[in-house]
């Protein structure tokens, strides 16, 4: 099986559900070409998404977010049944020169016709306080909330991965 993400056009942020294990089904809905009424979420695609396995605590989601629309799309926040808190993170050098993760307050901007790569050591979606262990081969559903009020949902498989261990400097650290 090729595990593919399942982009779903949702104008209202629906409660995301953990898909069953069979869940690589579902085809992408064809975005409507109409200009003014097109929600940002329908311009996005997520490719090669995956989530790092973890027994507890923190994890991260990665993949390639592409925007096929004519307008920039801004991801303002993210949610998932897998964890009560998700944050949009970037990895930057701190004053000491160490690479650290920090919250990206202004969100991820995916330029019109462009893409951003979410990758270990770079931009990523951080899971905090996992609700349950994320085991390899599970599916995790993530909802990205966008600046126009629409949202974009993708499903990603969990994979064992020993990287992605950047130091996190949260809101209280500085």
């Amino acid at each position: 099986m090729k595990i593919t993400s399942t982009p779903t056009r949702l104008v209202v942020a629906a409660a995301a559900l953990l898909l069953t294990l069979s869940g690589c089904a579902g085809t992408a809905e064809t975005p409507a070409p109409a200009a003014d009424t097109t929600p940002e979420g329908s311009s996005l695609t997520m490719t090669d998404a995956w989530v790092k396995a973890a027994d507890s605590g923190m994890s991260g989601a990665f993949g390639l977010l592409e925007n096929s629309g004519a307008e920039d799309v801004t991801v303002t926040s993210a949610g998932s049944p897998a964890a009560p808190m998700l944050e949009l993170h970037e990895t930057v050098a701190n004053d000491a020169g160490d690479m650290i993760m920090q919250k990206k307050e202004d969100g991820f901007v995916i330029p019109a016709g462009g893409s951003i790569e979410l990758a270990p050591g770079g931009n990523h979606i951080m899971f905090m306080g996992l609700a349950a262990p994320l085991a390899a081969g599970d599916d995790v559903t993530v909802t990205l909330n966008l600046s126009d009020g629409s949202s974009f949902v993708f499903t990603a498989p969990v994979k064992d991965y020993t990287g992605a261990n950047e130091t996190y400097e949260g809101g209280n650290a500085k």
Binding site: K2, L21, E66, E117, A136, P157
Partner: protein, 413 residues
């Protein structure tokens, strides 16, 4: 980007674009022109590995992953293979097996097409598929964990008198046969698959093997083993009804195995030092074939049908009664197998200068009905037994292939 993107999203194209992003396009060894050719192939349709222009190298050749049967069985043998047996960890249940096979299938589907696996930490090593195939096999213990029905033959082979089996080379719950024309590709694919399987299973044995390098000789040439013998001449011809019946059945197998087959690996140590003491005519008598061409001693070409009735001037059979050729052959045409073995050449120990042999690999729909009678005849009498010793043995069920929205083993799990 393009208008086409607003129509039907094409995961393959998008993955390719990711590859460009990750690898900086032309820098990665596949080259921009190769990538364009691949892109065209993707547009043209899924199955054919149709390359248009480009490559002067064979590293971009791919074998389709999805289909009714798993690849790596009727695929023309690649130059290199690594056989890996794993033992399931305690507590991995049916749901765990399902998660395991989904992940491994996804890895294999990507890597065999020259794409990095998800979370591949060395994606640059994935871009030379070199006809990579990954074939999965299930042992009896795995089928039991899945609460499935095992075929009657999915168990250790009967004990043969020639066997000197070592536990370190015997058995296993899950088989990975990873084969490609490039050993670098195999190393990366193996590493990736084993990283993803380690929370479910641990490595029991790894057996790498080799044939002639890709392009060294005419495609389709029967391989030679390290005794110098042409080895595997009697194989059924891929694509024929004969092959299909022998390998895919029908056989008395459980329904989940429809489209699958049986797998036997025998690690056969070959005593090259002892073989050195045998002159050429003795070597040819032992096997019943000439060393030069592999022709039966009654013929001139490899594929000539042996004449077992032919006698020498002294009245002895030209193909001796004790020869491997005569002993391996059955009057019953259903007692045949599809061989797909490899040579091994390990580090010698002690004062020896060789530690070599054959990874005897055969595919057959029913191991008990096809492989076992042959081995029983060879066990009873085969002059070659003086120089060869089976030191490892394993039997696996090879489940059928899967569709792009399925996974290997989905008929069982």
């Amino acid at each position: 980007m393009s208008d086409g993107r607003q129509e039907q999203p094409d995961p393959a194209r998008r993955r390719l674009s990711r590859r460009h992003l990750l690898l900086g396009g032309a820098a990665a060894g596949i080259g921009a022109a190769g990538a364009v050719a691949l892109d065209l192939a993707v547009k043209a349709g899924a199955a054919a590995p149709a390359r248009t222009a480009e490559p002067m190298v064979s590293g971009s050749d791919t074998v389709p992953f999805f289909g009714a049967h798993q690849a790596g069985v009727d695929t023309a043998p690649q130059a290199h293979a690594s056989f890996v047996a794993l033992v399931l960890r305690d507590g991995v249940d049916r749901a765990g097996l399902r998660r395991m096979m989904r992940i491994l299938t996804d890895d294999a589907a990507r890597l065999t097409q020259g794409d990095a696996a998800l979370a591949d930490s060395e994606p640059e090593l994935a871009v030379v598929p070199a006809r990579l195939t990954v074939t999965f096999g299930f042992g009896a213990a795995l089928v039991a964990r899945a609460a499935g029905t095992a075929p009657g033959w999915l168990k250790p082979l009967p004990a043969f008198t020639v066997d000197r089996l070592e536990p370190a080379w015997t058995g296993g719950d899950l088989l990975l046969q990873i084969a490609a024309d490039d050993p670098m590709t195999i190393a990366h694919a193996t590493r990736m698959l084993l990283k993803d399987v380690r929370s479910f299973a641990s490595v029991h044995w790894v057996q790498p093997g080799f044939r002639r390098s890709a392009g060294s000789e005419k495609p389709g040439t029967t391989m030679r083993n390290l005794f110098g013998q042409v080895d595997g001449t009697a194989n059924p011809v891929v694509g024929t009804d004969d092959f299909s019946a022998l390998v895919w059945g029908p056989a008395d197998n459980p329904a989940w195995l429809t489209g699958g087959t049986g797998f036997v690996l025998r690690r056969i140590s070959m005593d090259l030092d002892k073989w050195d003491k045998l002159d050429r005519s003795g070597r040819e008598s032992a096997v019943g074939r000439t060393l030069a061409t592999g022709a039966p001693l009654t013929g001139t070409r490899e594929k000539d049908v042996p004449d077992f009735a032919a006698t020498t001037a002294l009245g002895f059979p030209v193909i001796p009664e004790y020869s491997h050729l005569r002993r391996a052959r059955s009057e019953d045409r259903s007692q045949r197998i599809h061989r797909r073995g490899y040579n091994y050449d390990d580090t010698p120990t002690g004062t020896a200068v060789s530690n070599s042999g054959l990874l005897f690999v055969s595919f057959q729909a029913d191991v008990d009905a096809q492989f076992v009678p042959i081995q029983q005849r060879l066990d009873t009498l085969d002059l070659l037994n003086q120089w060869i010793t089976p030191i490892g043995s394993a039997v696996f069920a090879i489940p059928p292939g899967c569709a792009a929205d399925g996974f290997i083993g989905d008929t069982l799990l």
